[in-house]
């Protein structure tokens, strides 16, 4: 049977449209590249389904599919032209570049798809945006062009990698790493981990790759394939699929039965943040993550002369015209110099008290400076800082808040219920309309607002009614419920779901109150910063001799609260979140929960059970003596570099074994007697008996299983008739196998050159495979445990190959039965 016919036969059941090849001695690649590309596509595209949830919606999917499919199709085309593997992957990379250009940078590309220097220039800002999105936002992110570009590039790269592993290197089992790489992202980022859909689709694709490569194994182009063994190949494919499916089923069942798997191994809702830790509060409300962190980080201390602990406000979100709350930049209005902010906090006739606070921001890193409201001067800052007269938020222009130690003087107006009740005038006309603007509001919010605040007369009463409603027993504080319920965030639909589920955390309470206030005609905004934190028990003397009480805040104190505008009084903070923060005097109502005024008790989310069922009233009270806080909170995102390091270490550790396996696989497909012999010598080297340079094949073979035997014994080993029991314990079968391998190699290396017997070749290869495995098991049976492990994990033959390559990277190696120790240079 000719090679062409064999390959056709093998390919027959796998797909239609057999192209027999251009004929002659060079059979075409046939359907194999296309089928393999299809399998890889199924795997990569399937696993990419898990990215839903990392991105909001499915808008990114077509781009991802087009990119993956295009790259693989280009590679398959190159393969069908029998291009070398390196060329195939170059073609794939070029296709990836073109596809990305035409999808995302068309106007910057030549003819709309050819990348030119301008394309690269335009790529920079996009990558910057993607980076900001990755660093700053939490999943699910709005799929903007930048992040989709990054995702497509990643998927394309994974497709190339997977195809290279499965086809070029013929390591289909390892091609799962590419799929795993896709699945790792949602597993890291998404609270519910990768999810069943993407996992199942990716796993199915992986099985498909395994099955297809098994199908084509031995029938690859240019090689005499499995002739009579077609049915065997089919059976193997079936077995492979069966084994894989069984393993998957066990995996899935196991995770269902064993607790701890259901929520994923990785911390939930984590940002995927490979470029360092921007641990500061993000204006885009990344609060939930900080709250859900098991351990606090970004420790920050402040010492104040105020009698009550302070809220530290970093940024104000006032723009709710889009889908989420976000800060209005107001870059044109911002004023430079925060040493003395020329802003009159107190209205005419209003009294207030001045507070001095010294803040050490520690490693809290954000462009926004956390300060108590309302700051009038900030001293001791490094860098250039600006402030916004409208919101009094302080922002670094070329710096951030990390490592700053600064003194804030702030003024708190004296507010009382009476004054607030009196402030019934409509807001001044020059107040930014932004504070009242709303996108289309779902009915449930309108009706809720109406039923809650409809009966109230003054803005103050309305505000109190809304706050009372949110702090009522109907609502529970939960950092987990929104994540589980899929309404984490601050959008309008999130608020609607929150009102139904009645469970959420500060972001939900604050944004709901702010929206309902706007519906009620009260200008509102959301302040983002930190709840008061805990006292450390220390005091810090100030410049003028006053003892400042020190408090400590960490990321678990991250908080958001609404500020409502009352004409004549200015912006007044409220606290609708049950169990968090402290309700100001003026806002205290007779609601069922009346949190104490002091900071640390009952307000600490650290003690809050994360389950949705945890009612605030049920929370244990922490005595204030719990302070001082733990001296060094563990860094929560340490697992990311650690995990990356572990992954890298794992890959490095697996590299020798993997390349050994690849080498063995390549050799097992090679015709002739030299490849099995090379494999045998490497095997012997792995088990600590490398051939000596001065050893002939049969002497080496004789020594290998008999230990130190004389040359005569060695000769006997090869000349011995098969089946003769070996004298020194080695199984006769292995002895005979060794003898056959040596004889075949002798024939190849020293015998008369003759034409390869094509038909018998496959049978011989099969025999060599059997012989090798017999010798291997004999060696393994003889070796001590440590050596067995080393032979698999750190095969000596691979290291000597690498060593030889390192010493002489350009030297062409000559095949030698003496293996690594007997390199002969020409």
């Amino acid at each position: 049977m000719t090679a062409t016919a064999t390959r056709q036969g093998a390919a027959g059941p796998a797909g239609a449209g057999l192209s027999g090849g251009p004929g002659g001695g060079s059979p075409g690649a046939g359907t194999m590249p296309w089928v393999m590309a299809g399998a890889v596509f199924c795997a990569v595209a399937g696993s990419s389904l898990a990215l839903n949830g990392v991105f909001r919606g499915w808008a990114w999917l077509p781009a991802g599919l087009v990119t993956t499919g295009g790259v693989l199709a280009a590679g398959a085309f190159a393969r069908s032209l029998r291009a070398p593997a390196a060329v195939v992957h170059l073609v794939q990379a070029a296709a990836l570049a073109c596809l990305l250009s035409t999808q995302f940078l068309r106007s910057h590309s030549l003819l709309g798809f050819i990348p030119v220097p301008d394309t690269v220039t335009a790529l920079g800002p996009l990558l910057g945006r993607a980076r900001d999105t990755l660093v700053g936002e939490t999943a699910p992110v709005q799929p903007n062009a930048a992040i989709v570009l990054a995702a497509c590039a990643g998927l394309g790269a994974v497709a190339i990698l997977t195809e290279a592993l499965a086809v070029s290197l013929q390591l289909p089992a390892l091609s799962g790493t590419g799929i795993l790489a896709v699945l790792v992202v949602p597993a890291l980022v998404k609270p519910e981990s990768a999810g069943p859909l993407g996992f199942a689709a990716g796993a199915a694709g992986f099985l498909l790759i395994l099955a297809c490569s098994q199908w084509y194994a031995g029938g690859t182009p240019g090689r005499p394939g499995l002739s009579a063994q077609r049915s065997l190949a089919g059976g193997q494919a079936g077995r492979a699929a069966l084994t894989g499916t069984a393993a998957l089923a066990v995996t899935v069942l196991l995770t269902a039965v064993v607790p701890g798997f259901t929520t994923g191994t990785f911390p939930q809702g984590s940002r995927f943040n490979p470029w360092g830790s921007a641990t500061g509060l993000n204006p885009m409300i990344a609060l939930g993550n900080d709250l859900r962190e098991a351990s606090g980080q970004s420790r920050m201390t402040y010492a104040t002369d105020a009698t009550t602990p302070l809220y530290l406000r970093a940024v104000t979100l006032d723009d709710f015209e889009g889908s989420v709350w976000q800060p209005t930049p107001r870059d044109d209005q911002r004023q430079l110099g925060v040493g003395r902010m020329g802003f009159d906090v107190l209205g005419p006739g209003q009294s207030g008290k001045t507070t001095t606070t010294r803040i050490d921001s520690g490693d809290f890193s954000s462009p926004w400076l956390p300060v108590p409201y309302a700051p009038v001067s900030v001293l001791g800052l490094d860098g250039k800082w600006t402030w916004d007269p409208e919101t009094l938020s302080i922002k670094g222009e070329d710096t951030n808040s990390a490592g700053q130690n600064y003194l804030v003087r702030s003024v708190t107006p004296d507010l009382g219920p009476a004054a607030l009740a009196a402030a019934a005038d409509p807001p001044r006309s020059n107040l930014d309309r932004q504070f009242l603007a709303l996108p289309p509001v779902p009915d449930i919010i309108k009706s809720t607002e109406n039923s809650v605040a409809g009966g109230a007369r003054t803005p103050y009463e309305k505000a109190l009614a809304i706050q009372r409603f949110l702090r009522s027993g109907d609502f529970t504080y939960s950092e987990q419920a929104p994540v589980d319920g899929g309404y984490d965030g601050s959008g309008m639909d999130v608020i609607a779901k929150f009102l139904q589920a009645k469970s959420g955390y500060c972001v939900h309470f604050a944004s709901t109150m702010a929206v309902m206030a706007r519906l009620a005609g009260i200008p509102s905004r959301i302040a983002v910063g930190y709840a008061p934190g805990e006292p450390t028990g220390r005091t810090v003397p100030s410049e003028d001799g006053v003892k400042l009480t020190e408090y400590q805040v960490d990321s678990r104190d991250a908080h958001a609260w609404p500020e409502l505008y009352f004409e004549g009084l200015g912006w007044v903070p409220f606290e609708p979140t049950p169990s968090r923060g402290a309700v100001p005097d003026y806002a205290v109502t007779d609601s069922p929960q009346r949190p104490g005024r002091t900071s640390a008790d009952s307000l600490d989310p650290r003690q809050a059970p994360s389950g949705a069922a945890a009612a605030p009233s049920a929370k244990p009270t922490t005595p204030a003596a719990a302070a001082p806080a733990p001296a060094q909170p563990a860094r929560g995102t340490d697992w990311l570099p650690a995990a990356a390091g572990l992954l890298l270490a794992g890959l490095l550790a697996a590299a020798p074994a993997a390349s050994r396996a690849a080498l063995r696989r390549r050799r097992s497909g090679r015709p002739g007697g030299a490849a099995p012999w090379d494999e045998l010598t490497d095997l012997a080297a792995d088990y600590g008996s490398p051939p000596l340079a001065s050893e002939t094949p049969r002497r080496f073979a004789g020594r290998l299983l008999r230990g130190a035997a004389g040359p005569q014994a060695a000769t006997d080993a090869v000349a011995a008739s098969p089946g003769m029991p070996g004298p020194a314990g080695a199984p006769a079968e292995a002895e005979a196998a060794l003898g056959r391998l040596a004889r075949r190699y002798e024939e190849t290396a020293y015998g008369r050159p003759g034409p390869e017997s094509g038909g018998a070749d496959e049978a011989r290869r099969e025999e060599a495979r059997r012989d090798l495995s017999a010798v291997r098991s004999a060696l393994r049976g003889r070796a001590p445990l440590l050596q067995r492990v080393r032979a698999v994990v750190l095969p000596a033959s691979i290291f000597s190959r690498w060593g030889a390559w390192l010493r002489h990277p350009l030297r062409r190696r000559r095949r030698g039965h003496t293996g690594h120790s007997g390199w002969h240079a020409r």
Binding site: A693, E746, R752, P753, G822, H824, R826
Partner: protein
Amino acid sequence: MDFQNRMTLPEELDEPAQPAPAARPAALTPQDFLRASERVLSVINTVIDGKPEAARLALTVLLGQGHLLVEDVPGVGKTMLAKSLARAIDCSVSRIQFTPDLLPSDVTGVSVYNQASRQFEFRPGAVFANIVIGDEINRASAKTQSALLECMEEHQVTVDGVSYPLSEPFMVVATQNPIEMEGTYPLPEAQRDRFMARISMGYPDAASEMEMLQTHQSVSPLEAVHPVVSAAEVAAMIGAVQGIFVSQAVKEYIVSLGRATREDPQVRLGASPRAMLQLLRAAKAGSALAGRDYVLPDDVMDVADPVLAHRLLLNRRAAGAGETPSSVLAAILARLPVAAGDGQRSFGGR
């Protein structure tokens, strides 16, 4: 071992690539070859107990068209080995007992004036036979020994300017005692070099000696020996040996082995190119006797000591340190990299 600056191979080292079947008479199949060689060996082994290796080597030398030097103490069967080999083959045998007064013409032959024809007639000497047994060769004078030189090397005798070819196959089996005695002349280096191999018989083991006493007490075992192969068959076997394939790798191994003997610091005189040639022939004969039609490095190693050891001269220091040519050669073999078979069937690079 680096072959970049390889020496030129002796001519015949490159030559045997010619296809074997052409050189091999059609009648002789590999099975015939093996059967014939088995017959010869079994005959020798009935005569000499417990020395199968010596018998095999003797046959190897015969098939490799070389000459054999058997060296050992008296009475261990040197002459018996030579005689039994000669008897096993149906061919002419002559025996020369070398003595100090032996003349060269006794070996080669002499021209005698024929009165009747009034012409000089050549009367062939003892060397005109297929197998010449030279007993105690080192007892003859250098002059007589050198008379053997031309015969051994060129298979012909030249007397009075006329060359007389010797019949094929032609083999000299010489014996000598290593113990220096009165009136012996050590073989000059040039003559030693002409012997393909030197073997030592060694004492037989106790069982073999017992066996010998049992069976050989009355009649000489030689009496019972009848030829088992014909001279023509031997010639065909020699032809078959000539057709044995030698790969480039094995040739390189032989060359590197020769160079190693010359470069070894303990050796004063290394192996000559002729020695390399004879090593190759012996290896070919050895592989043929093993039933193979190609030479392995193992075949070279197996014959290296008998072929090379008697040609090596150690320097004084090595000799004083108790080294022997055999031990030096063994050390060289143990460290010399075996050339890998590389080019005969190309499978592409790694």
